[in-house]
């Protein structure tokens, strides 16, 4: 089961790293100081979680790869993050929406993961869950403020929703790799989590006076390493230092 667990850990870690990196792009560019600090704090939580997941993945794989090796020395096709995480920050509405859709998923997913029979994974999940509660509270309050705000803020949020909703299906991608782990009680089954997520999201969209896009074709492919073109640009920037100076250390 090591191989499957390794793959699964990479998927979790990659999604966490890419979204964390995206959020960190707001550093020094936030619309107000408090939000600049909030987003970078959240970014830190994501990157911290990534660190533990990669560290554990390296241990499970047993080839001596460190968290840095896993983050900096793989190409686009070897990354398995969900497609939502790599979408551009856009305006503040898009960043908040991407975050809310992710937080609403993670709150249920990581709660289920705390019951994993794998103690290390359950430990990382318990730690993350505490942080996700803050993330969700933050993104939810901004969803309401922007959605039920001015005509301009509502329009922007609605436009973002129309643009990125098609990547939410990627949060629930699963394959035969997972079934072994699900059967072993290591990771949760996603069907129930998806239903809870959908219910929460529908309620939120209504409260925020937004229309859920109809007949959306969900974009998928992250488990095969198929991504939108955004990922390549993120990796190019994120990995450039490590590629130029292999093995560089602070």
């Amino acid at each position: 089961m090591e191989k499957q667990l390794f793959n699964y850990l990479l998927r979790l870690a990659d999604s966490s790293l890419i979204l964390g990196h995206r959020l960190s792009e707001w550093c020094g560019h936030g619309p107000v100081l408090e939000e600049d600090i909030a987003l970078t704090n959240i970014a830190l939580d994501f990157v911290g979680r990534t660190n533990s997941l990669y560290e554990y993945a390296g241990k499970v794989e047993g080839k001596g790869r460190t968290e840095d090796d896993l983050a900096y020395l793989r190409t686009e096709r070897e990354f398995f993050n969900n497609l939502l995480s790599e979408q551009p920050n856009g305006d503040y509405a898009q960043t908040i929406l991407r975050q809310y859709l992710t937080d609403a998923f993670e709150i249920h997913f990581y709660e289920a993961l705390t019951k994993s029979k794998d103690e290390t994974l359950a430990g990382i999940a318990a730690k993350s869950l505490k942080e996700i509660q803050y993330h969700l509270r933050h993104s939810s309050s901004w969803m309401l403020r922007l959605g039920d705000g001015t005509k301009e803020s509502n329009t922007r949020l609605q436009n973002s929703l129309n643009e990125i909703y098609r990547f939410t299906g990627s949060l629930f991608e699963t394959d035969e790799n997972d079934s072994v782990l699900i059967a072993g009680g290591i990771v949760p089954e996603l069907t129930g989590i998806q239903q809870q997520w959908q219910k929460d999201v529908d309620t939120m969209l209504e409260k925020a006076m937004l229309n859920k896009p109809e007949n959306v074709w969900m974009q998928k492919g992250c488990l095969q390493g198929k991504h939108t073109e955004n990922l390549g640009y993120i990796l190019a920037e994120m990995q450039s230092l490590h590629r130029a100076y292999p093995g560089v250390n602070w």
Partner: protein
């Protein structure tokens, strides 16, 4: 040195971001043991991305080296997850004097998980007439508040 002596020694190390309390009072220092001649110190982060962990690790290694322990391994664990319940009353009082409103209730109180801490006291004038400015403050473990009576902004150590 015995593990107890090492613990006493390490309990003097101040937290790099909130230097009025020590890493022991904060609950970051979890365990000390010896594996052969190597001293293994176990610590746990307040938040998983806490940037102070590296600094704490260096402080531990340096202090032990000064005291003649050359082989040191600092292990960081996530489980059991750190909680503000580990803060002692003495530590909370130190925080308040330092200008940081301490977490009032225990994290097992469900209202903490679903809502924002209801009563937050201003650490300067003790007023309960305060308002949340931002859930995220100067460090990951703090939120930003404002006192509506003395008008001073202050940090709240988030209940976690």
């Amino acid at each position: 040195m015995t593990t107890k002596e090492v613990k006493t020694l390490l309990s003097q190390i101040p937290d790099p971001e909130i230097p009025v309390i020590t890493i022991e009072e904060l609950g970051i220092l979890r365990d000390v043991s010896f594996e052969n001649d190597e001293c293994v110190v176990t610590i746990t982060p307040t938040y998983s991305g806490c940037p102070a962990m590296k600094a704490i690790e260096q402080d531990i290694t340096a202090l032990l080296k000064e005291n003649g322990i050359e082989k040191v391994k600092v292990k960081s664990v996530f489980s059991p997850a750190w909680t503000t319940d580990w803060l002692t009353e003495v530590a909370k009082e130190k925080l308040r004097k330092y200008g940081i409103s301490p977490p009032a209730k225990t994290s097992s109180d469900k209202s903490i998980l679903t809502g924002i801490q209801k009563v937050v006291k201003c650490p300067l004038c003790n007023s309960e007439n305060t308002e949340l400015v931002s859930q995220f403050g100067s460090t990951a473990c703090k939120a930003l508040y404002k006192c509506k009576d003395c008008l001073e902004p202050f940090d709240l150590f988030k209940c976690h």
